[in-house]
Every structure is written in C-alpha cells, then in structure tokens.
C-alpha cells in the first residue's frame, strides 16, 4: 500500500518558460515570473490563493546567495511561507514531493513549487566541484559526464548494437523535442543519421559523445499543488499524486567503477521495486501510459529503462530499437524531449512531473501522446546518486 497520506493532493496548475541557452531579456526573478504567471493562469487562481512557495535550484550555479530571497519579485513569496530546497539534480522532484507532503499534511491547502536555473549566468562546474571533499581529489569533479554506462552497455551487447541503440534513443528524444515548443534543443535529427552521428559527434568521455549529452539551459517551471477539496473546487482536470519515493542507498559511492561488487547506480531499481510493490503494480510497463524520465544522457536513458521497468536481457534495447518508446509507441518515454533536450537543472526534474501531469490531462499539445493517459510516472536523478519517483493518476480510484 502507498505510503500513509493524511489527505489526497492534486496538481491543479503547471507553467513553464520557453527554455533556451540564453535569456538576456530577463533577469532571474523575471524568468521565474514567466513560469509562475503561466502556472497561476493555468490553475485560474491568483497569487493570493497560494499559501506557501517551495523554491528550488542549485544554489551555486548562478553564483548568488539566498536565491529564494532574490527571486521573491518573481515567485510571489512576499508575505507567504517560503521554503528553499536543494537536493542536486533531483531538486525538481524533491520540490514536488515536499509540496505534496506539505498539502497532504494539512498544513497548506495550496502550495506552489518553483524550479529554476539560469545556467548561463554562473559556472556549473565551479558549483559542482564544491560537492567533493577537498581532501580526496576535489579537482576530479566534473558533473554528470561519465562514460562508464556506455562502456557497460557495449560490453554486454556488443559495440555496434549498443551504439546504434543509444543513438536511436537520442534521435527519438530529438523527434519528441521537435514537437515541444518549449524545448531548448530541437535539431530535427532523423533515423538515417544514426550511423553518421555514432561516428562523427565529438567524444566527451569514452563513447559518451556530445550529441548524447543533455544541454545547459535557462528556464523555470512552476507546479501548483492543492488539497483534494480545493482541487475539486478549482480544477476540472486535477491530476492526482498517488505516491512518491526517494531512494539514496548506494553502499559505496562509485561512479567510475566496473566491479560487480561495487555496482554503479542501483537507486533507480531500488526505488522502482519499492514503489511498485507497495502500490501492487507487478508489471509497470503495462501499467503506466507514459514515463517522463530524468535522462541526462542517451546512454543512461537507454540503460535505465531496464532498471525502472524490471526488464530482462535486451528487452530495453528492443523497446528502443522497435521505437516503442516513441510518442505513439507502447511505452512513450519523454514526449517532451526529456532532459537531453532541456536541462535548466533546478527545473528539470519538476518539468518531468509537470509534463507527466500535462499528459494525464491531455493538455500537452503537439507532444500529447495519442492514447488516453491514466497513469503516468516521473523520475528525478541527481549527481548525489538519488532517485525520486512520482506516480500520477487521472482518477482518484486506487
């Protein structure tokens, strides 16, 4: 059974900016204000109706201190309770979990979560480097760039198939991004470019190539959470939050290793196993209609499908090869274009929740999947090896 909840909570409004590499025309609070006003408009409420603001970003990435205070002009937190959260790449989903908890607890009826990043203004590596202990090779830290997953997949499935599948994944994501007017990068790639890109895209680390990797984006996302009573009063299409889970359980922090005794990144699997078990979901691939996954690179997106859906052997490769993860496939992944297309870090994971909610509502526009969406899954992932999963439902019937 799902984790104990005092009362039901629904998403009643989502808003986001157009995401871009540069937004010279707005400062930070102005960028946030775009997402906030869009979310308020979407929910058809005013800032006066909001009881609490939950603000999140990676604090060092813009090189400003106390960002939630800087951003009040855009967030509308003046005179309201306001909480700042930073948990790494997962921050957006943590914002959603915290907002759900704050409303479910009965403390607030309406909470607005705001995820934000303006990566162009700061120095990401300068910020990330501070995660590492100076006594043990702080200088090695470079963020989310690792080639180990590419190595693993190639080892397991052979170079040609692995590289082709990863590039297929990448091109599918770009095709989705081309349908999303808010996406940052939408190149218009096509499947006939698989071979060329496999061999010509500049290498970053091993077989992790530039084209595989997510962007650095400026953007913001706001999501409004309401209690069941308020949601039913205010919204025609509330999206219910069924459950969420946060897993942080690597015994050994190991992002470089290949040794079977020191597994890399098993939090996705742990999170999915626990979440689905307590919600009596035995076949997630069948249960969920759409998955907005936090996929920082094509190799990870490809590999992680197996962890999230308990797949065996090469099932995850075949999902990609058969284009089942495309918007009209059996298990659409990231119809928004995902993280590879758009990555304003503090907003990225909240965008997963927002996009999943839009799919449930049927309001995603050009990137709305063609079949009815009743059950949606969203994930968050962070450089501190966290996994957050959130389940959204169309009906309040579980």
């Amino acid at each position: 059974m799902a984790h104990k909840k005092n009362r039901n909570v629904a998403i009643i409004g989502v808003g986001q900016t157009k995401h871009s590499s540069h937004r010279e025309d707005v400062n930070q609070p102005e960028l946030i204000h775009e997402a906030v006003s869009a979310a308020l408009k979407d929910a058809n409420i005013s800032i006066k109706d909001v009881d609490c603001i939950v603000h999140g970003n990676m604090e060092l990435f813009e090189m400003i201190h106390q960002p939630d205070l800087w951003h009040v002009l855009g967030t509308g937190a003046y005179g309201k309770d306001s909480i700042r959260i930073t948990t790494g790449g997962t921050v957006g989903t943590t914002l959603a979990c915290a907002s759900d908890n704050l409303v479910a607890s009965g403390m607030y009826d309406i909470v607005m979560a705001i995820g934000f990043q303006k990566l162009q203004e700061g120095h990401t590596t300068g910020g990330i480097t501070n995660m590492a202990d100076p006594l043990w090779f702080r200088n090695l830290q470079t963020g989310a760039l690792t080639g180990s997953t590419a190595y693993d997949v190639i080892q397991e499935f052979g170079e040609e198939r692995a590289k082709r599948a990863a590039m297929m994944y990448r091109i599918i994501m770009d095709k989705h991004a081309c349908l999303n007017p808010n996406a940052h990068r939408a190149f218009g790639l096509d499947f006939d470019q698989v071979e060329t890109l496999m061999n010509t895209s500049p290498k970053l680390v091993g077989e992790l190539r530039l084209i595989h990797m997510c962007s650095q984006s400026d953007g913001a996302c706001a999501v409004i959470f309401a209690s069941e009573k308020k949601a039913k009063e205010l919204s025609k299409k509330p999206v219910w939050i069924r459950d969420h889970i946060t897993i942080h359980r690597e015994e050994t922090f190991n992002i470089f290793g290949y040794h079977k005794n020191y597994p890399v990144l098993k939090t996705h699997k742990f999170a999915a196993e626990q979440l689905f078990k307590r919600n009596d979901i035995t076949n997630p691939l069948e249960y969920f209609d759409v998955f907005e996954m936090y996929d920082p690179a094509a190799w990870w997106g490809l590999d992680w499908l197996r962890d999230f859906f308990f797949l065996k052997g090469d099932e995850h490769l075949r999902l990609v090869e058969n284009k089942e993860i495309m918007i009209d496939g059996s298990m659409p992944i990231n119809p928004s274009g995902g993280v590879i297309a758009t990555n304003p870090i503090g907003a990225t994971a909240l965008l997963r929740v927002a996009e999943a909610a839009l799919q449930v509502r049927g309001d995603a526009g050009a990137h709305q999947i063609p079949k009815e969406v009743k059950h949606a899954l969203a994930s968050g992932f962070g450089g501190t090896m966290w996994t957050v999963l959130m389940m959204l439902e169309k009906e309040l019937n579980w």
């Binding site: 400062n27 006003s37 100076p134």
Partner: protein, 474 residues
C-alpha cells in the same frame, strides 16, 4: 573557552575557487541603465495598485505580482539619506579609499531607496535625513556608476535661524509698539560698532605707559582724544593723584564730571570693581552716588592675579569676590538708579551665574555683555570659546569684548567680525599691534576704527551707542 585542546596532526586544506558569473539585467534593468547613461535620467516604475514607485525599477510589484514593467516614472536626481555605513577598510574591489560612505538614498519621487557612494562629506558629518544629490559620471560606464556618486545637496538659499532666548518656552513675549520700533531701529544699526576706551583700569600705571590718566583733568583729555578718534564710550576706574584706584565718591564724581564737561556727548561707564581690596559697599555706593549711564557688573568670584606670563611666577595673588548676592544687589542697585549694567563675563560659568540671577527678572533689555579675555584667573582668548559665549547669549543682547595684553586686538577683531562691539584702552593693553607703546588709549581706538572699517562696519556715535545698548542719556 580554553584553547589548549590537542591540535597535533590536524590538517587544513587551503584552496581557492574561482566564481565567474554573468548577470543578465533583464529588459527593465537594461532600460534603467541605458536611460541613465544616455539621458542622465533616473527612472523608476510605479505600481498602479499600491501606488509605490520602485527604484531600482522592477518588472513586478512584490506585493501582488502586478506587472509594472511599462509604468515608467522619472524620479528626482536628489533625495535624502535614509541610512548609511562607513567603509573603514581598503581593498582592491572597493570603489574608494577608506574611509568612505555607502548610503541608502531615497530619491524624491521614489518610495524605495537605492544604495550608492556618498562623497564630498566627511564620514562623521553624514546624518540620516540629510539632503543629497546625484553627481553624474562624465563618461558612460553602463553600470549604476553612471551616477558617479551622491554628494550633499547645495542649499538653494542661505538658511538663517532665529536664536531662541535661553529658557524660552516657545511663547512669543508680548511687546509694545514702542519696543518693537526700538528693536527694529537697533537691528538697522547692526552695521554700527561701539568702540569703548578703557582709559586706566585699576592696575596700569604711568611707569608702564605715561599716558595712563590719574587726575580728573587727565581723564577728560584722554576721553576727549578717544572720542575724536571714534570711541562712543569710556570705561573709568578713578585714581588718586598718586595713581592708586579710589572708591572716594567725590573723586569719582569729579572724574566723571570732568569727562562730561570736556566731552558732553560721550558715555561714561564706571567700574563697580574699583580696585583691589574694596568692600561691596565701597564698590556699589559710588555708582549709586554718581549714577553714570553705564557700569560694569561682575559675575563670578575668581582669581584675579598678576602672573608673569613667561615664567608663571606669581606676583600678586588676589581673589576677586563677586558672590551671587553681590551680583544680585549690584544689579538691582544699577537698574533702580537707571545705570545700565555691562555684564562682565570672564568665563562661561560667569554667564551662567548671570542667567540664574536674571531669573529674578529685574534686568532690563537689551542686555549688554563684555567678554573679558586673558585675566590671570579667567580664560585665555580662543575663537571657539568666543562663539560658545556668543551663541549662549539671550535674545536682545549686545556684546563687546576686551583682552589683556596681546589678546586685545585678536579678541576685538573677532568681536567686530561676528557682529559684536570693541573695547580697547590702556587698562587692558599698553601697546598697539606693532608692539610699540600706545601714545594713549586713543591710538588703540584709531586701530579699532581701522579694523572696523576693513570689516565693513562704522564706529557708532555715542547717541547711536545709547540706542543700541538701551541707555538713558544724562
């Protein structure tokens, strides 16, 4: 807390991180900077809901997120300091060498303050509420430094504050039409400077300067010369033929009358101190007997000695007794006999003594004060102290000054400069400013006249002096 914990093998890793950043100003911030740069205008935005004018401008009103990005209003390049801090350390990132002032300035027309550098004023002079104005940069910087700094606002016109009388409770005293006219007349005569010649004193002897008068005839001759030189008043300590100061009523009256006979116009101001060792009765009875137009009134008991100014050696140690009772009794006696007191102020305490006794209400306006400098036992001349005394005076006051020895001319020059009157004479100083012996008090009067003229003031005639000081002509 004890600092004796074990620090053996405790390592510290020293590091340094670069923090590069860009800051996107946004459309609103950019418009502010470009308008400041190109038009030297400081623009805020006004919220139509709460009517606040925000400076720096912003896209939304923080209160309710009202979009105010297009509601530009110009604010004034001047305003007031609402708070400030003094930067007292030097560092390469700082815009000025310490100490300098960073102030929170609310410009006229804005409801929120901005922070900027405040120049052109010493840090200790800065006050919350002071008016300041923007000084624009001569070349563009594309930053807030297109306002180079703020500086104290230049006053649009001179501000003159009326002095309030000591102890005044803010109520306008009721004055007659006649008094009002008199006041106006006195004010009109503020260009006039009353020059007094203190002809002899009690201690200056002929062996110091042969022009010191002893006999009534000598006093008359000296007074006349001073009158011709420009003096309106003489101050007199009568002497015996042998030069000793006297309290003898007849001798004093003879001296007074001789002066008035030779020079009927001049004001005679008699001493109520007379000389050393006189009793209170001896000192005041002669005033009541002679009834001069004016007489000195001393305000405090003090050392009044003769000390070698170079070596500090004491020649004569003497306590000049002026108790509160004497101040009261002498003052009353003078006022009752139509003798205007010239209040002698040897230090600030003396003036305060007068204020205490003046509470009894028998002193008549205008009040006349003489600041005395350089008495061994009193205060040496200091311009600061002069201003303290001047500023402490009650309303409807005149003041003159005298100084012993070389302090004579600096003191009278300052008095003339700041609107007071001047006393010279051999009683105070036997020389002229060149260091030569004065040929008589009249020669010092000539010097005083020159000082007054160079400061744009004219010597008052005795009648003008009477009008200024409120004397009854005899």
């Amino acid at each position: 807390m004890a600092l004796d914990y074990d620090r053996k093998d405790c390592f510290i890793v020293e590091g340094k991180l670069a923090l590069p950043y860009s800051y996107f100003a946004g459309r609103v911030g950019s418009t502010f900077i470009t308008t400041l740069r190109d038009k030297k205008k400081i623009m805020g935005v006004k919220c139509p809901v709460c009517n606040k004018v925000y400076l720096p401008p912003r896209q939304t009103c923080e209160r309710d997120l009202t979009d105010i990005r297009d509601n530009w209003v110009e604010v004034q390049p001047a305003g007031e300091v609402v708070n400030f801090t003094v930067v007292r350390y030097d560092d390469k990132h700082l815009p000025r060498k310490a100490p300098f002032v960073m102030a929170l300035i609310k410009l006229d027309g804005a409801d929120t303050p901005i922070v900027h550098i405040l120049d052109g004023i010493a840090p200790e002079e800065v006050k919350i509420g002071m008016k300041v104005e923007a000084v624009f940069s001569s070349s563009p910087t594309n930053t807030i430094l297109d306002i180079a700094h703020f500086a104290p606002k230049k006053p649009e016109k001179a501000f003159v504050s009326e002095r309030t009388p000591a102890g005044a409770k803010g109520e306008e005293p009721v004055i007659s039409q006649e008094e009002k006219l008199l006041k106006e007349r006195r004010k009109a005569m503020s260009k006039k400077v009353i020059i007094t010649a203190a002809l002899a004193g009690a201690a200056t002897m002929k062996n110091q300067n042969p022009s010191v008068p002893y006999t009534p005839q000598e006093f008359a001759e000296e007074a006349y010369k001073c009158y011709k030189a420009g003096a309106a008043m003489v101050h007199v300590h009568a002497r015996e033929d042998n030069g000793m100061p006297t309290h003898d009523h007849k001798r004093i009256k003879d001296t007074h009358d001789a002066i008035k006979e030779k020079c009927p116009d001049i004001i005679v101001n008699l001493s109520s101190a007379v000389g050393m060792g006189k009793t209170p009765e001896q000192r005041i009875s002669q005033i009541v007997y002679v009834k001069p137009e004016m007489a000195s009134l001393n305000t405090n008991t003090m050392n009044f000695s003769i000390i070698d100014r170079k070596t500090g050696k004491i020649f004569i140690d003497f306590v000049f007794e002026n108790t509160f009772t004497m101040l009261q009794d002498f003052g009353k006696a003078m006022e009752e006999n139509g003798v205007k007191p010239e209040v002698e102020v040897y230090d600030l305490g003396g003036l305060d003594n007068w204020f205490l006794i003046a509470k009894q209400g028998f002193f008549t306006k205008p009040y006349n004060f003489n600041f005395v400098w350089g008495v061994a036992g009193g205060m040496a001349f200091r311009p600061d102290m002069f201003m303290v005394l001047k500023n402490a005076l009650p309303e409807d006051s005149n003041f003159t000054t005298c100084g012993v020895g070389i302090e004579q001319f600096p003191a009278v020059t300052m008095s003339c400069l700041v609107g007071g009157h001047m006393r010279v004479g051999l009683e105070d100083n036997i020389r002229i400013p060149t260091g030569e012996l004065a040929k008589g008090s009249w020669e010092q009067v000539e010097w005083a006249v020159r000082i007054a003229e160079s400061l744009g003031r004219e010597p008052a005639t005795p009648d003008e002096a009477r009008e200024i000081m409120g004397l009854r002509k005899r």
